[in-house]
Symmetry: C2
Subunit: 123 residues, 2 copies
Amino acid sequence: MCNSHKHECECHSGQMRRFIQPCMLLLLYEKPTHGYELMEKLRDFGFENGNPDPGAVYRNLRKMEEEGLVESKWETEGTGPAKRLYSVTPEGLDILHSWSVNIRNNIKRLEYFLERYEKNFND
Amino acid sequence: MCNSHKHECECHSGQMRRFIQPCMLLLLYEKPTHGYELMEKLRDFGFENGNPDPGAVYRNLRKMEEEGLVESKWETEGTGPAKRLYSVTPEGLDILHSWSVNIRNNIKRLEYFLERYEKNFND
DNA sequence: TATGTATATATGTTTTTAACATATAAGGAG
DNA sequence: CTCCTTATATGTTAAAAACATATATACATA
């Protein structure tokens, strides 16, 4: 991701704060599912250095459930250990929509940065 | 920024982590200056809710100086209290360049999210 | 039967960032 | 002298990310 060699990537990921949340909401809107599968699908969104931290996934699910953004029920059918099946609530959908506005604004912000950056280095 | 009314903006700013750093480096590259002026110029980059936190600005300057990304000297000339004039070092410039790559990647990531979001809601 | 691996959820701990608040001081205006 | 602007700095708290570990089911295979 980061191409600094002298400084061991001092810019870290520069990832958007809490970006995992809208990704999880969107995935759950597309198809209600459980944490483990969600974790794998999150790689689509660039949480790919290894897998996204299971701790982050499960804790976010619980937190969003507390906040009423998702709801869950135990799925004991099928093989393997029981799964907790999550789906998005109407409140969660509202939040997902507001995230999309927010993300759009953030893209503009980052593009402003790049334009200004390029004025200095690519002309 | 966030348009959720029921939830007091649960998506918060969703700002890019540590985004203030590349902005400061870019501004200092454009023109070496001191913290207070930097603070005002940062509004260009969307740190606009009031002013960007002075604490953030000054602490980041000190931290970047420790890391060798910027350097400073006291400016006692002129009116008002003394200013600490900062400028970017070659190392800081390297980091700025790696940030630009990182930011470009993050825009792609956010755009991927939006495309996928729109497939669900704008078709 | 013991061992390992994949699936699945959960929590503990530490570090890093962000947010909010406050302290200090120079110098000019009134 | 008091207030405002400019200027830098630090203290405290809260939130988020990063890293580590614990637990349990079920299946494969040696």
